[in-house]
Structure formats: C-alpha cells, structure tokens
Subunit: 268 residues, 4 copies
C-alpha cells in the first residue's frame, strides 16, 4: 500500500467541513493530521463535537503552526473567504497543496493564487462545485450538444425553492451555448395554447422547472435527433454528494504542478 | 374453449380499420365473419389489399345484408360519422352489439343510441379514445390527486406537434380538477427568473410541454407529498396502441346490457 | 373553520412518533391535547426533547388518565406491540378512535379489536404501511394488470440493503397475482446469455433489484401492451413520507363506524 | 453557402440505403450525384421505387463508371460485404472518400483499407454502428465510470428479442471494464431471495434486461456515488436513428486525411 496522503482541514465545524473530516478519516489512502479552526486551540477534535468521536487529531488556530507540526501534503480549505485567502497563500509557501471549496474569493485573489501556484509548480485546485455528478451532467450535455441541437432541460426541486430556473439549469444552458448556435426548436408554427407551456427559452433551448414537495434536487437534459433521444440525469439526494469530488481533488492535486479552477477541468 | 365472438368490422380500409381486421383475425376468441365497406361488394377481403392476405371473409356494402348473412355478435364500427349512426342503429335493431371508435357523432345521435340500447338492454360501447394506457394514466392521476394535491404534468411529443399543451395533458388536468380544489403550488414567493420556466398554470397545477425530434407521444404525471413522489407515465410508441382497447371493448360489450360512453367507464 | 380533531399520541419519542407530534401540532385541523409515554409523567413535551420546543401538551404514563383529562377524539398509537393492544382497547372503551401504526399485533388481538370496534360502531384504522404513495403504486399496478399482462418490476435501493427483491416488490407482485393468470413473458425461445439478466421470475413477471450508493427507496412497475407502455413509479426520499397517511387516517377514522385493516382499504 | 459535398450511395435499395438516399437528397449541404446498385443500370432512381419520386440521379452498376461520370467527393457504402471491399478500394483509388456502414469486412480487408487510406492521406470512415446517441451513451458511461464505480445497466427491449442481455449492454460493460477495476457491488452479505433478482454480473456490475411488448430499444446506465446518482439513457424509437451518424460522417470524412474505425473516434 502507498503511504497515505497527509491532510489538514480548515473549517472543520462547518457543514462541508464536518463531512470532509469524516471522509478523510475513514479513507485509508488519507491521513487526517490536523485541523485549523478559529477556536478550540489545542483540543482534540473528538472533544469538540461528538460527531467526531475517535478522531484524535489536534485543533490549531494558526495555520503555520499546524503545518510545521503536522507536515501535511494537502490543505482542504472549507472556511470563510476572509480567512481562506491567507490560508491558501501560507499553504503554497510551505509547499502544501490546497484543495479549496470556499466560495467568495475575488478575481484578484484568484489571479494571485494562480501566479504563486504556477510559478512554484505546485498543484492547487479551487472548485466552487464539488458535486462530480452535476459537473459530469453539464459536461456530457455540452459534448452531446455538438451532435444533437434540439435540447430541453427539465430541472426538478422541492417546493421551497425560490427561483426558477435553478442556477444549475442556467449554467448547463450557458455551457451548451458555447458549442451550439442559437436555434428555434419545435414546429415553426407552434402555438402555446396556455402561456408558459413550452417553458423558458434560452437561445431556442427550453427549460422547465418542476417544483414538488418530496423532491430534492434533480435535473434531466434531453437531446433529440432523428428517431432517438439521449437523456442525461443527475439526482442529488443529500448534501454529502460533494465528498466524491473532494476525495478526487485531494488525489489529483498531489499529481498537479499548476493551478486549476473548476472541477470540470480535472475530469477527463 | 368458448365459442368465439362473431365480429363484423365497418371501415376495414381505414388506419384503425386495418389494424382491427388483423387483430380480430389473429385472436382465437374472436371470429371475423364479414366487413362492411362503401365499395368492393362481394369480394374477399384478401382481394382488396395485400395486407389482408389469407383473410377470406366477404365484403358487404349493405350492413343489413351483412348481418343477415353472417349472424354476428358484435359490430366494430370504425367508418365515417355520416355512415356510422345508421350502422349502429341497424346493429342494435338486430341485437348485434356495437363497439364504436368513430368520432364525430353529435349529442342528439348519442342520446338516441343510448335510449335504444338501454331500452333494449343491449350492450353498446362508444369510445373516442381506445388507448387503455392513456385512459388508465388519467384515471390513476385523478385517483392519486385526492391524496397528493401538488401535481406537475410533463407531456413530451415529437417536434412537429403544433399545439402545446397536448389535448391529453389538458384533459388530465381537467379530470384532476374534478377532485382537487384549486391550489397555488410551489414557494409562495417563487420568482420566475425566465418567463415560462414554471410552465402553464391550470388551477395551480403546472403543465410542461417538451418537444424534440425522435420523441413520439409520452406523458408523465408527477404528484408530490412529504418525503415522496408518485409518478404515472404513459408512452405511446405507435398507432396500434388502441387495439388493446378495441379487444377489451368487444369482450366487455358482450356482457353489457346498456349504453356506455368512454373507455374509462368499462375499466374497473 | 371546523372544530379541530383532538388527538393524543402514544409513543411520542420514537422515530414515527416524533414526526407525528410535529405533524399533528402543525396542522390547523388537528389539536394535540396530550401524549402517552412510558416515562416523563406530568412533564410538558417541550421539556422532554428540544425538537418539541413550543409544544406544551402534557405527558401521561397512564392512557386512561390521559383520556379523562384531555377528552380526545382520536388516539394515534405508535408505541410497541406489548403496550399497543391495551391502549387501543382502552381508547375504544372510551369511544376514542384509534389510528394504529404499531406493527406486531397478532391475529387474535386484531380479531378482538375488530369485534369491539364493529360492535360499538367505532372507527378504528390499523395500517402496517402508512406510505400512501407506495400503497397507491401497488393498487394502480394491480388495477392496470387486468389490462396489461406483461409486467416488469424494477426496484432500486441504496447498496446497504441486504435482501433482494425488496418486500414491497414481492408484495406488489403478489397483489398482481390476484388478478393476473400466470403467463410466461418475453420471446418463447428467449436465451439468457448471462444468468440473471432477465431478473427473478414470479408467475412469469420479472423483478429486477438495483442497488447503488446514493439511492434511497424507489420502485418502478412497467406494464406493456401493443405499441404502448404504462409506468407507475414511487420514490421515497425520507422517512417522513408516512405522515401523509397518518394525516389521512386521522381524518378518515372520524367518519368511520367500523374496523379497517390496511391503508389501501380507506383509499378510494 | 459552401459548395455542397457531392455524394454517391452504394446499396440504395436496402433499409439503410433508402434512408440515406432520402437524407442526402434533403440536405442542402449535400448533393446526391449517383447511386451504385447491382441492377437497374441507367435508370433514374425515381423509376426504381416510388419512395424515391423526384430523385432523378442515375443508377450505375459499375462504380468506376459512376465515379468518372459524377466526380463525387464521397462514397456512402451500404451494400453487402462481398461488394463493399472492392467499392471502397476503387473509391480510394480515385480519391473519393468512403463512409462505410457495411458490416462483415474481415480484419485483413480492414487492414488493407487502412494502409491505402493512410498512405494516400485520404479520409475513410468505417462505422459498424452509426447511432450517435448509443455511441455517446457508451462513451459517457465509460467516462463517468472513472468517478463512480458502482454501476447498473438496465436495457429494455420489445418482447420479441431473443437474447438477454443485449449486445449494446454487453459492449457498454466491456467499455467500462477498460477503466474500472472489478468490484463487488451491493451489501457484502446481500441475499438474493429469488434467483436472478440482482441481474447478471459482469466484473461486479449488474445488468438487467427488461422485455415488454410496446417497447422498442432503450438502455439506461445508472452510476451511484455518495448522496447522488448519474443516469445516462438512450432511447431508439426507429431505424432512422443512424442517419445523424451518417450525416456527421460525410461532413467529417471530408476533413480527414486518415482511416478511422468506429464512430466514437470521430466524436470529440
């Protein structure tokens, strides 16, 4: 067996942080050697929250201290944007490879991190969306749109969602727009007998937003051609779905020697 | 084995008629004893169209003549409305039970046929839609709507369809309206960022019309409740799908002693 | 507005009990007037668990005491079988209508409760499965099987499920067996090139069990006829899905004057 | 507008050939300049079959003659393997680029054609399966399998299909095997209470074959990860679905300077 990758996690008490602590602890290819938090200096993680029982690594409030003590290979950064930028810079300075899920870094900060990572030939992954399934759904839809120009997106969410269409549906359509010329779909003389029946129009693609109690977060992209349809569907059942992406990013960042933004850019 | 039901078919050269001739000929519980047509008096059916090879029953242009010669139990009436009314009346007069797929009879004619059939205690089925699957989809949606008031209808058709939503989608919603009080669905403060995203609104239900090349005729009714969804879907792949309904109607009409309008009223 | 139905709940700290407490408290047609528990006599429910904050009804360890104090219309019984039988008998004796989700009552006990309820003309509902969506899926599948004899069941669960097929899939097939004669499906000379491809066989129906991480509990019943398919699907996303059934049962039991076993028997 | 690509079609009376004739004739970027057939030398295509009315190009029985007369850019070869090999060689000799759907060429023949095309820097595409949707489904499944190792394939066909699983399902699993290490899926102690419930096993993946009247040809590949599933589905509704692939191949072969085997290798 290979030597496990030594990981520190920043932001261990947040929603993503908690899941990341559990995932890294339970994966035999990883070793959780410390966590960085705003409080609880010197405590064991198992003393901080009983979700963490049996996880004995130490809490540090200073990331430099943490890095010097634990000699990690990788920083998983999941804290707030105000702290994240300095954490990532510090990690890079010590040749620790960052995997960053914190959103809210501005373009200037991102540019600076890119320069540091690329100049130092150090892997660094910043991903606003770690849900691999959703990223693949968008990627495949874009790829298929080169061959099937008639596309309908049906996104389905719980009925407490405020906005329609969902951000993912719009992003999917934008990615498709990059490869597909605008095209009016359907019969040229199509009549919408009830307004809205044909959904929202985006460069001729149609987007339909379904809202029902019971549903969680689902999206179907249908592409039609002569005599056939191709359908790509993602179902997100709960908030742990981004963990597959965090795991992949830790493994990948160790082989990288440059800055990468967006999970889609580390997927083959 | 039981004695087969003796059947005559009116309108054998039409689209539905051709399929009915083949279905009745190939079903061992039925015996095709004659057909009624506007032309081809005295010919064998096999001489009329080579789709009918090996089907040797005679063509009659006069329904009385046909009935007297063949002594049928059942008339399957699939010709034009102008001829159908007299055919059905004649059949009832001779105690031959009609199964009618012809659309276009007016209310006065329907009322008269109902009176004749009920007064004579003779079974008579008139069904504008013989597709059992579609009828069951609508019936189940209506039944389920008593328990799940949040409903979204997604109908999907080929991209040469002119109108949206489809007639079946509207009829489904109307049937649901009979048992469900109007209800605004979704978040009370829902924002449609792109017009049409939430589909057409019918008493608070939402209807979405998908159009793609490749598709044929499909409808999904989704009902949501706390922590669960129930989905009822009908896929129609080709125009022979109504044959299951014709077959059922022939079997059922033989046990009926009254007039029935609509396939849904002979389904349990 | 009508006077709310006064409800007491037995077993408020169990998994179903907690959800029932919240549902009854939040429904304006119901009034939670007391709970029956093994412990915590005299406490307010809000003192027992902080999930129950703001729910101020009292905890009773004796059901007679609870009934005399609170004058309820309905008992929702969700405790263990050892306690449930006496609770239900006591409720019936005081003309309080039971809605029972406790499983494990034996046939003798069920028979005795049926006699008491029917002799006294008191409504009583005992339901081993309160998930309306699942019950409707089974009911609709059975209804449709009269018209479509070719049936395939695909049940899909998380990959920690031990048994395949699921109990619901087997029960669905059993209900269909009541109305469908055994029939070998597929091509008569069908060849299974890889064993198991065609799934499990039950009177000629085929059952397929899909297991994947991510999935929760889902079942699709597909019925095929000439040129069409009818699909009925139930998705259970979490354990609160039975609450729709508890709510319906409380409303229904108030109008009943007899014993009913099984949610399917109160659905139209 | 660009000059249209001049196309000749070999095998115009076959099932694929007829569709190809119509597609090429109706596409403004293509010009059908001749067809090669075993019979009907010198006739107009419109005289051969009334499906071809208004298509006036000539029928040639000799491909050399056809090429010299019509100066085509591309040969679409859809005839029998016995004739196809010589046709393709002749086309390459005259610098006409072949798009070949004929199956049954042997490895020696394929190798020889590859050498001729590559040596001459002439584009040549040989594709046993022109259904782009099916090819993309397989490609995406393989790509996604790198990230989601738990995979179930559900293929669904009409009930007159003899073999289970389908060739496409097996090919999909083989492509996934190239990128996924064998893995036993499901609960380690899983119990199959009814044999076959868990489907066929291929390196730990499960394959389920559904057969129902009404269905045509459909396949769903489901991949599961923590809290999410990704589903890729292809529906083939009729036999014209390969035309999108033929069209793409004609466009692509004009830009190629080498031999390509398999549609997947011209898709990005």
């Amino acid at each position: 067996m290979e030597t496990p990758i030594k990981v520190i996690i920043s932001g261990p008490r947040g929603r993503m942080g908690k899941e990341a602590v559990k995932m890294v602890s339970n994966n035999e290819n990883f070793q959780l050697v410390g966590v960085v938090d705003r409080i609880n200096e010197g405590k064991k993680l198992s003393e901080v929250d009983n979700e963490f029982n049996n996880i004995d690594c130490l809490v540090y409030t200073d990331i430099k201290h943490c890095i010097k003590d634990t000699q990690p290979d990788c920083l998983v950064e999941l804290s707030v944007p105000q702290a994240a930028f300095e954490h990532i810079k510090t990690a890079l300075a010590y040749n620790v490879r960052p995997v960053v899920g914190t959103t809210g870094l501005n373009q200037e900060e991102l540019d600076e991190l890119e320069t540091i990572a690329n100049d130092g030939n150090i892997g660094c992954i910043i991903a606003p969306n770690f849900a691999i399934g959703a990223v693949l759904m968008m990627k495949f839809s874009q790829m298929a749109a080169k061959y099937f120009q008639d596309i309908e997106i049906i996104e389905m969410h719980h009925d407490q969602k405020l906005d329609a269409p969902s951000g993912t549906a719009i992003k999917t359509a934008q990615l498709i727009e990059e490869v597909r010329a605008p095209k009016k779909q359907g019969h040229p003389d199509e009549i919408e007998k009830m307004p809205g029946a044909r959904g929202a129009d985006m460069s001729g693609m149609h987007i339909h937003s379904v809202r029902l109690p019971g549903l969680i977060a689902h999206q179907t992209v249908m592409l039609g051609g002569q005599g056939e349809t191709l359908t790509i569907r993602h179902d997100s059942y709960n908030r742990t779905s981004f963990m597959t992406g965090v795991k992949l990013s830790i493994e990948t960042v160790m082989k990288l020697d440059r800055f990468v933004y967006g999970l889609e850019n580390i997927l083959d």
